[in-house]
């Protein structure tokens, strides 16, 4: 069954929408754009006018929030609970202090000057170029500090606490976008990929949606690697090999360990998980990276198909992950 594809950039990453219903692709893409615009407005950490920015700026006060932001915070708290705090939304200040304080496309643009001092809204003194920035850490306060009232849709953060919904937020956005897309497409099946976090909905193509499992979502789909076929649900990958920058002479990445308030340093560099939703897959993959040594036992107990890549390249397959030696499709 042929599928139609539309791609663009949003939320600081690539967006791909595939549809088995050719005539429905345009409507599906419009629906996805609408969802992503709502998501950006609700919980972008890099927009001054986003709800999340306003919430973080008003820590210590009870704030009424939109249904979408309440859903995203709800999802983040569930992730924290299910991972025993390994995936914690209160890492906001820690990740900002560590240097991830802007849309990553702008941080990446400064890769030629990895020691460039950055502060939002401040011009860089040419004399400062090349000076190494010391690595700083900010203790993660812990997700239990958040007070969310789902019925009244209010949230309260302690003074100094900043939320970052980046991990679960993108996966949730993929799920929401896929749901909106299939409704707009008027039939068939759709796949939505947000920077490699994938959600599918509706009737899949024959054999399922074909997904190349890579460590970097920018790898071309016809590249070498394991290809799996997924009929439903979601696929998410968490990796320490992307979104990297430099502080204090050390190369850092965006997955923060709440125990240390610093980027994780465990044995696995990439974890890919298949689950009923992209959100659940993302919770499992990020939780596994943070858990480190105990990741395999934990994922096994979750009974989710998973693929883990050690820092030396050794690959582990967990649960009903298909045998890469047998090509069926």
């Amino acid at each position: 069954m042929p599928v139609a594809l539309k791609s663009w950039k949003a939320l600081g990453t690539s967006v791909h929408v595939l549809s088995t219903h050719d005539v429905g692709l345009e409507a599906a893409s419009v629906a996805v754009r609408d969802v992503l615009e709502d998501v950006d407005q609700a919980y972008s950490r890099f927009r001054e006018d986003s709800e999340l920015t306003q919430l973080n700026a008003n820590a210590g006060r009870t704030m009424r929030i939109s249904p979408l932001l309440a859903t995203a915070i709800d999802a983040a708290l569930r992730a924290a609970r299910l991972t025993d705090g390994a995936v914690d939304p209160t890492i906001g200040r820690a990740i900002r202090v560590a240097g991830y304080d802007d849309d990553f496309s702008r941080i990446a643009a400064e890769a030629l000057h990895p020691a460039l001092p950055r502060e939002r809204g401040r011009e860089i003194d040419p004399g400062e170029r090349g000076r190494e920035i010391p690595l700083r850490a900010w203790r993660v306060p812990g997700w239990q500090a958040i007070r969310l009232d789902r019925r009244l849709r209010t949230v309260w953060l302690p003074q100094g606490v900043e939320l970052d919904l980046g991990s679960t937020g993108k996966a949730l956005a993929a799920d929401l976008a896929a749901t909106a897309a299939i409704a707009a497409a008027g039939g068939g099946g759709v796949l939505v990929s947000l920077g490699g976090d994938i959600a599918v909905a509706g009737e899949p193509p024959s054999g399922g949606w074909r997904i190349l499992v890579a460590e970097d979502s920018r790898v071309k789909p016809d590249g070498d690697g394991d290809v799996i076929c997924v009929p439903a649900g979601g696929v998410a990958a968490s990796s320490t090999t992307v979104r990297r920058w430099s502080r204090g002479g050390a190369v850092l990445h965006h997955i923060i360990d709440p125990q240390t308030s610093l980027p994780t340093s465990g044995p696995f560099r990439t974890v890919t998980v298949v689950a009923a939703t992209c959100l659940d897959a993302n919770i499992a993959s990020t939780g596994a990276i943070v858990r480190g040594e105990t990741a395999i036992d934990w994922l096994t107990s979750c009974r989710l198909p998973a693929r883990l890549v050690e820092n030396d390249g050794t690959i582990h397959y967990i649960g009903p992950w298909p045998d890469p030696a047998s090509v069926a499709a």
């Binding site: 009244l152 309260w156 490699g196 997904i211 460590e215 790898v219 090999t241």
Partner: protein
């Protein structure tokens, strides 16, 4: 000769005063216990109201239990697997890449 007959009026007055203090203490202690047990019971089972609250700070909970209007799994249940496990495939048209971003 009875025991009471051996008390002086002063000793009898002191005894009565002690008895009154004991009575007052027991009553106050009972009240405190009733209030305390009521507080614990109210905290343990908040009950529910048919009308919504008006003050933003009237209710705060750290937990969440039910899903929102989206199809996403935001319930408090464990991580959910797909009904059908993934299978091995080969790349071709319609393939997308999963990976870090």
């Amino acid at each position: 000769m009875g025991f009471m007959d051996s008390l002086t009026p002063t000793q009898r007055d002191r005894g009565l005063q002690r008895l009154r203090r004991l009575t007052f203490g027991a009553t106050a202690g009972g009240l405190i216990a009733v209030v305390g047990v009521s507080y614990v019971a109210a905290s343990s089972y908040a009950g529910k109201s048919s009308s919504g609250g008006t003050a933003l700070t009237s209710t705060t909970t750290t937990d969440t239990t039910t899903s929102s209007s989206s199809s996403s799994s935001t319930s408090s249940s464990g991580l959910q697997s797909t009904p059908t496990a993934p299978t091995t495939g080969s790349s071709g048209s319609g393939t997308v890449t999963s990976g870090g971003s």
